[in-house]
Symmetry: C2
Subunit: 194 residues, 2 copies
DNA sequence: ATTATCTATAGATCTATAGATAATGC
DNA sequence: ATTATCTATAGATCTATAGATAATGC
């Protein structure tokens, strides 16, 4: 392999693939995965549909690359998550409606039968719930102030993040996503008197 | 109009339309709206695709009928909602994965551009948030025990319901949707000491 | 040689329209 | 007369394969 200043063939190729993935993220945000045609993605990077298939041999292969991108989006080394980082992530998300729309659309489609992202999301949520439980345990120990275990609070935390995204995408003016999320975090940290 | 024992033409026609809507709910659960072909819906009620179009002149007209059905699903007269009814609704939902899948898929798709259900969901959430705020106010007055106003708690309540549905649909074994929702209601009712 | 891209095209779909035919109900 | 349903079909798409052509890099 050569490491000159000029781009190698491989580097150029990977850059092209990255361009295509970015275009795919956009088109999926606009039309969902089923509605996203390879031709529409190809056009956005100045290729024919068949030219695109040189880089990703099937539509599903392109989706896999898109999902990898999703993992990069909020990937923080497992051990470094903290609740306040989560609040920052939500604030950051509120500035990037496009990417949130892409993955909200994909999540919605993924519950249909035989959808190629179904397994991905199933496994992702298992992982994310475990991560969130660990974060809560690091913050509060084996019981939150309100008496819930981290394992029982984790699915609620994840649900609030996702559910707020849908409300916010549909009506950004009326829904203060980061504010609502902070309200929820406050709720989680409050002591029960029951 | 005649009101005999035998079905009138109109009654028969409405029954046919209802059959078609039921079939559409199923097909949308399996493939989403964009993926649901009129031919697949028609086949399920023993019609040709063109026969179906006699009852619903366009695919969108069929979707409108499906969305009306959604409103019927959890319609309780506004003034009669109570928090414990909400918990029962979630428990009931957990026994009807099909219908939950239909509307979770539709919600997901609806955030994409120009989706014919986008306005419907946007308006629906505005209404549901207002309803939930009213329910919380009836239960707790102008402040929940934790200090939140009903208006700030309402989007969280709605988000938890929706978000839990996705997690549960993707992995019903691992996610106790009604249990998690009750945990959240408990959280909402707890007094803050801060 | 390998990589990137194109043209051509097969083979499936999809929604919707036009118009015929049969059955139903005043 | 109206309603329900069918056959035929137009006109768009869609994904994927086959194979040609041009450019790049050892």
């Amino acid at each position: 392999m050569s490491y000159g200043d000029a781009m190698t063939t491989r580097a150029r190729s990977e850059e092209r693939r990255a361009e295509i993935v970015r275009a795919a993220l956009e088109v999926i945000a606009e039309r969902g995965y089923r509605g996203a045609s390879l031709a529409a993605v190809a056009e956005r990077v100045g290729l024919t549909q068949q030219g695109l298939l040189h880089h990703f041999p099937t539509k599903e292969a392109l989706l896999v690359a898109v999902l990898r991108e999703r993992d990069r989006w909020d990937a923080v080394p497992d051990s470094q998550w903290r609740l306040d980082l989560l609040a920052s992530l939500v604030e950051y998300n509120a500035m990037r409606p496009g990417i949130i729309q892409t993955f909200s659309a994909l999540l919605g489609e993924s519950v249909t039968e035989g959808h190629p992202a179904r397994d991905y999301f199933g496994e992702r949520y298992t992982r994310v719930r475990a991560n969130m439980a660990a974060v809560l345990r690091a913050e509060y120990g084996d019981r939150l102030p309100n008496g819930l275990t981290p394992e029982r609070a984790a699915p609620l935390l994840v649900a609030v993040m996702d559910g707020l995204q849908y409300q916010w995408l549909l009506d950004p003016e009326s829904v203060d996503m980061p504010g609502a999320f902070r309200d929820f975090l406050t709720l989680l940290g409050e002591r029960s008197d029951r």
